[in-house]
């Protein structure tokens, strides 16, 4: 084996020298595999690929409107970081709650209200400073907070902590929490869990009682009388509330390193998030996006669609539009049109890429999202908030 390697190195060295000149020819033609240190500056990569345009132009463009409802465009980004009062730059999640915005950071829960940030930490009753997920109960207004160290109910100032020791919570690392009527669902490091706020009863869903290989869950969403669980390594688990029955959706090819057919089922068994709206289930993975309309699956990969990156941290659907938090920017998609928000390198300016089929247009934007590594998103009315690797941003619908 050592010999082999040595040979390979030798060959590569020789080859490299031989093809040095020719290399630059290929540079602009092929989408190249990336390395971390020199991952392409997205501007370059995309600007070469797409044509240019202006924002004003694009918002009136026919190309991005659908027959029924035009794909919304957001802009006027305003960014908040530690300098503006956030407790940390790394913001895992964001949730709009009426007049206030709740942001989960690596150093506590930040609440933006009346143009001011206020931070809640462990001293205030937060289970752990790392806040990964937030949801608000529509019924009661209670805020449910998933942290790296347990689940909080934050109700009118009172923090209540649930963890795997003092309650029926499966595990203390809460990747996702959602409210579904009186029920609260969590995706944790030790299985999915449900909590009935009326009876106080906890449910745990693991490989022991649900069709999962292992109890690792990453995302959960509710919709259509069902609960969908993104089971890491187990695809998507569907739970029908009424019948209390489970079924699973996994990648039919059974292999981790490939996707045999894009549309044969969920793209990959390592799922990172699920969201449901307008009778559509969207599934995020680090390997692409999947859409399920109840009968058939459709997969989207970055090499042949407008999806900017296969690496999707989180997603959230709002009506027909799904918002995708990728490592290359914020992406929205309604089944036809892709709109991607990116940041220009070393600049406060941003850009928007709009892809319809093979047609892609880039629009410059005077403002941009805080960072292209987007981790969380929430929209409400004409406002969008995103949380990123370095700060949170607020955008407005462009009319």
């Amino acid at each position: 084996m050592k010999k082999v390697i040595t040979k390979i190195s030798l060959r590569i060295t020789i080859l490299a020298i031989v093809i040095l000149a020719g290399s630059f020819l290929g540079f602009k033609l092929v989408k190249k595999p990336l390395t971390s240190e020199e991952y392409p500056k997205t501007d370059q990569r995309i600007s070469d690929k797409y044509s240019q345009g202006s924002l004003e132009e694009s918002s009136n463009r026919e190309g991005i409107t659908k027959d029924t409802k035009p794909m919304p465009l957001y802009g006027n980004w305003q960014t908040f970081t530690k300098k503006n009062g956030l407790p940390a730059d790394k913001a895992y999640c964001v949730r709009i709650d009426g007049d206030r915005v709740l942001v989960g950071t690596s150093a506590g829960l930040a609440v933006y209200e009346n143009d001011k940030w206020r931070t809640y930490t462990v001293e205030d009753g937060l289970a752990h400073p790392g806040v990964l997920s937030i949801d608000v109960s529509e019924l009661t207004g209670d805020v449910w907070i998933g942290t790296l160290g347990g689940l909080n109910r934050w109700s009118a100032g009172r923090f209540e902590t649930f963890n795997q020791f003092n309650s029926g919570l499966a595990n203390d690392v809460i990747y996702t929490v959602i409210c579904d009527g009186k029920d609260v669902w969590v995706a944790t490091g030790g299985g999915a869990g449900s909590y009935d706020t009326y009876t106080g009863q906890w449910g745990i869903y693991t490989e022991r009682n649900a069709p999962m290989h292992e109890p690792w869950t990453y995302g959960v969403c509710a919709g259509g009388g069902k609960i969908f669980i993104a089971a890491w390594g187990g695809g998507v688990i569907e739970y029908t509330t009424k019948t209390q029955l489970f079924r699973d959706y996994i990648d039919p090819d059974g292999e981790m390193e490939i996707d045999l057919f894009t549309d044969d089922g969920v793209i990959h068994d390592i799922t990172t998030g699920v969201t449901y709206a307008d009778d559509i289930l969207w599934v995020a993975t680090y390997f692409g996006l999947s859409r399920y309309d109840g009968t058939r699956w459709k997969g989207y990969l970055d090499h042949d669609t407008g999806l900017i990156s296969n690496f999707i941290n989180f997603l959230k659907a709002n009506g027909p539009v799904v918002w995708l938090c990728t490592d290359m920017g914020l992406c929205s998609f309604d089944g036809e049109t892709w709109v991607t928000y990116q940041k220009k390198e070393n600049s406060m300016e941003g850009k928007i890429l709009i892809t319809n089929g093979d047609d892609t247009k880039e629009i410059a934007s005077s403002t941009s999202i805080a960072h292209e590594f987007v981790i969380g998103v929430d929209t409400q009315d004409d406002v969008i908030w995103i949380s990123t690797s370095k700060g949170v941003s607020r955008g407005e619908l462009l009319k």
């Binding site: 207004g141 209670d142 109910r153 100032g157 009172r158 209540e160 009876t199 106080g200 009863q201 745990i204």
Partner: protein
């Protein structure tokens, strides 16, 4: 000849009786000495054995069905007084002109509160042990609707426009919001722990709800009790007012101007070594004042005097002129009249630091207490006539309503509710249990730490031998007649002993009960205390799927790996039905460094869901913690092999456990355990 034989026979019997008298007396003396742990308790079989009969003809004969008036409401025109008879399960209607009961309406089990709408044509009664509300048409005096609520509906409030009814669900610690158009519960909001009392602000936009038990607090930290503020416009919780170091907040009332709301409360001293009673060292009682508004203060003031305590404040009403507040002290049979002008003046002149000191000050009450009005036994609910000239007081253990002139501050009349005219031994015992007169300076009653004869959720530093040692989690009094021994260390083999001389030396610190009093107290404790139905987790005896699975875990004999669990380490060995205790002493590895070595009495598990925190020193905040945190060595049952979902099932099963009578009636449970034992 025959006669002769009979004579001989009778004579023989007499001789035997005479001969046997001495040994019989000796035996009785020893028996009574053993049970009572004193040597001078009178030898009277009946005084003990007759009155502890729970069932049968004798029990029927010696006991009586009392009404026990609890909460009240006055009709908007003042002509009718509606009284909830808690034990009688009735709503009594009283004509306030004649002061006579004119009607009795049967309501649900253990009714708690009644509220009348503005038109005076509808009453709502909360049935605490039926988890519903009765809507009563007052023109027909008939129940016209039943509305489902959360568990243990207690205090009631109508929204300003009377479209919504708010219910404090005392057992599930929620507030049910009921749409009165559809007569359905539309949602539940999280309230404090064990919410009971309600009042709506004069403007109608804020609903205040008191709670009795402390919020779950980290071990060894002071209790904190919540007063929940609900915005009736958004129907969401607006704020949670936290009362530090207070609990048992039974009721709250707004002043007519809305400048204050005042709640009753108790300030316990559970964290301080229980080494004396002098100077409010165990319990103090008072009021909590809330100034509404965003920066409103929360103030606590005592209604006690340095050498006299006014224990167990229950209800509070404020006169329409906003000048006087009346507080019923159910532990001492007094109404305290509070001068609200003096309160306002005190609040106006005091800095936060001063108020902080006042909250522990026993002398400050003389600034605002106008008068103490004596009442009959156990005054609970209060109601004012619409103009505020009369105060009605529900004398619960007197089956009577007192009518007090608010101006003269004297009782001017009483209304006999026509309950049983005699006072049974158990009733006498109940009065004793509720009365603080048997504690030095009336500082607390049995009831204070055992509200509703249950437990108060606190852990006390009883300072057994040393001051910082042997903390004790208060245990319920329910069913205890059947499951000796007593105290966590099981040192007392009978209730007589438990409540005897030592009890007075270390707990009440005044003269111990007289023998007849002790007999009465025991009679009540043994016969008169019921478990509320477990409607929340096991309403009809049919276990949920999770509870069924949990039951299997409870009765299991093998671990998940198939290893046999030693008999002593199985749940049901120490906790067998019907009381889920084998009444034996055991070490389950839960003693802490601050405990002297002792074995612990296996506690009963009926209605265990109501008894957080757990373990002898209350270290476990939840049932889960018993096994996740305090059972490292598998001494409290083998459990470390359990998966989390199994533990959840076990907890669900434990929550399903209800009154022992169901397990006595249902032999299937026994079979289950014996069957499994043979596995």
């Amino acid at each position: 000849m025959k006669k002769y034989l009979i004579l001989i026979f009778i004579a023989g019997i007499l001789i035997i009786l005479v001969l046997a008298r001495k040994p019989a007396l000796n035996w009785s003396r020893q028996h009574v000495n053993y049970i009572t742990a004193v040597e001078d308790h009178p030898l009277n079989c009946l005084s003990c054995h007759l009155y502890i009969q729970k069932e049968g003809i004798v029990a029927k004969l010696i006991n009586a069905d009392y009404l026990s008036p609890f909460n009240m409401a006055v009709s908007p025109d003042g002509s009718r007084l509606f009284v909830v008879a808690q034990e009688g399960n009735k709503l009594l209607v009283i004509n306030t002109q004649t002061n006579k009961v004119i009607d009795k309406i049967d309501v649900g089990e253990n009714p708690h509160s009644v509220i009348i709408n503005n038109d005076g044509n509808t009453a709502f009664v909360s049935n605490q042990w039926a988890d519903n509300i009765f809507e009563i048409d007052l023109s027909l005096l008939k129940i016209v609707d039943t509305i489902k609520t959360g568990s243990g509906p207690a205090g009631l409030a109508l929204g300003a426009d009377e479209k919504f009814l708010y219910v404090a669900d005392s057992y599930s610690s929620e507030v049910s919001v009921i749409d009165l158009q559809t007569k359905t519960e539309i949602k539940r909001l999280m309230a404090g722990n064990n919410p009971v009392g309600t009042d709506i602000s004069p403007a109608g936009n804020l609903l205040y709800i008191t709670s009795r038990r402390t919020l779950p607090m980290p071990y060894g930290t002071p209790p904190m009790t919540e007063l929940t503020v609900i915005n009736t416009t958004t129907q969401r919780v607006k704020e949670r007012k936290i009362f530090d170091n207070a609990y048992i907040m039974e009721n709250v009332a707004f002043t007519p101007s809305g400048d204050m709301a005042i709640a009753t409360l108790i300030r316990p001293k559970n964290l301080i070594p229980a080494i004396q009673i002098e100077r409010g060292w165990m319990m103090t009682h008072g009021i909590g004042i809330i100034e509404p508004g965003d920066n409103g203060r929360i103030i606590q003031l005592l209604t006690d005097d340095p050498n006299s305590y006014y224990s167990d404040p229950f209800d509070i009403v404020i006169t329409p002129d906003g000048e006087k507040a009346f507080v019923s002290h159910s532990g001492v049979d007094y109404i305290t009249v509070i001068d609200l002008k003096a309160i306002r003046a005190l609040l106006a002149e005091s800095t936060p630091e001063m108020l902080d000191t006042y909250s522990n000050h026993l002398g400050i009450s003389s600034r605002y207490v106008l008068k103490r009005i004596p009442t009959g036994a156990n005054p609970k609910g209060l109601a004012l006539s619409p103009e505020g000239e009369y105060l009605y007081v529900a004398e619960r253990l007197e089956d009577r309503i007192a009518v007090i002139s608010t101006e003269k501050m004297e009782t001017i009349n009483t209304i006999d509710l026509k309950g049983p005219s005699r006072i049974t031994v158990a009733r006498k015992g109940r009065r004793l249990l509720n009365n603080a007169g048997y504690t030095f300076h009336n500082q607390y009653a049995c009831y204070t730490c055992h509200p509703d004869s249950h437990e108060d959720g606190l852990v006390y530093n009883m300072a057994g031998k040393d001051m910082g040692r042997n903390l004790a989690n208060v245990q319920t009094l329910r069913d205890i007649g059947d499951i000796p021994p007593y105290k966590w260390n099981g040192k007392n083999s009978s209730i007589y002993k438990q409540d005897g001389m030592r009890f007075s030396t270390i707990l009440t610190r005044t003269e111990s009960f007289a023998f007849d009093e002790l007999d009465a107290l025991v009679a009540y404790i043994v016969t008169g205390i019921k478990n509320p139905p477990n409607l929340r987790y096991n309403p009809a005896g049919k276990l949920t799927a999770a509870q069924e699975r949990g039951k299997k875990v409870f009765y299991r004999t093998h671990t998940n790996c198939g290893k046999e669990i030693p008999v002593k380490d199985r749940c049901f060995t120490c906790h067998p039905p019907p009381y889920f205790t084998n009444m034996l002493m055991v070490d389950v590895g839960t003693l802490s460094e601050t405990d002297d070595y002792m074995l612990l009495d296996a506690p009963q598990l009926n209605n265990i869901y109501e008894s957080a925190p757990y373990l002898h020193d209350g270290r476990a905040a939840t049932l889960e913690e018993l096994w996740t945190t305090y059972n490292d060595e598998d001494k409290h049952g083998v459990g470390n092999d359990m998966m989390k979902d199994q533990l959840n099932d076990l907890v669900e099963y434990l929550r399903s456990l209800r009154d022992a009578k169901y397990y006595i009636e249902d032999p299937e449970i026994y079979q289950a355990s014996t069957h499994l034992k043979n596995d």
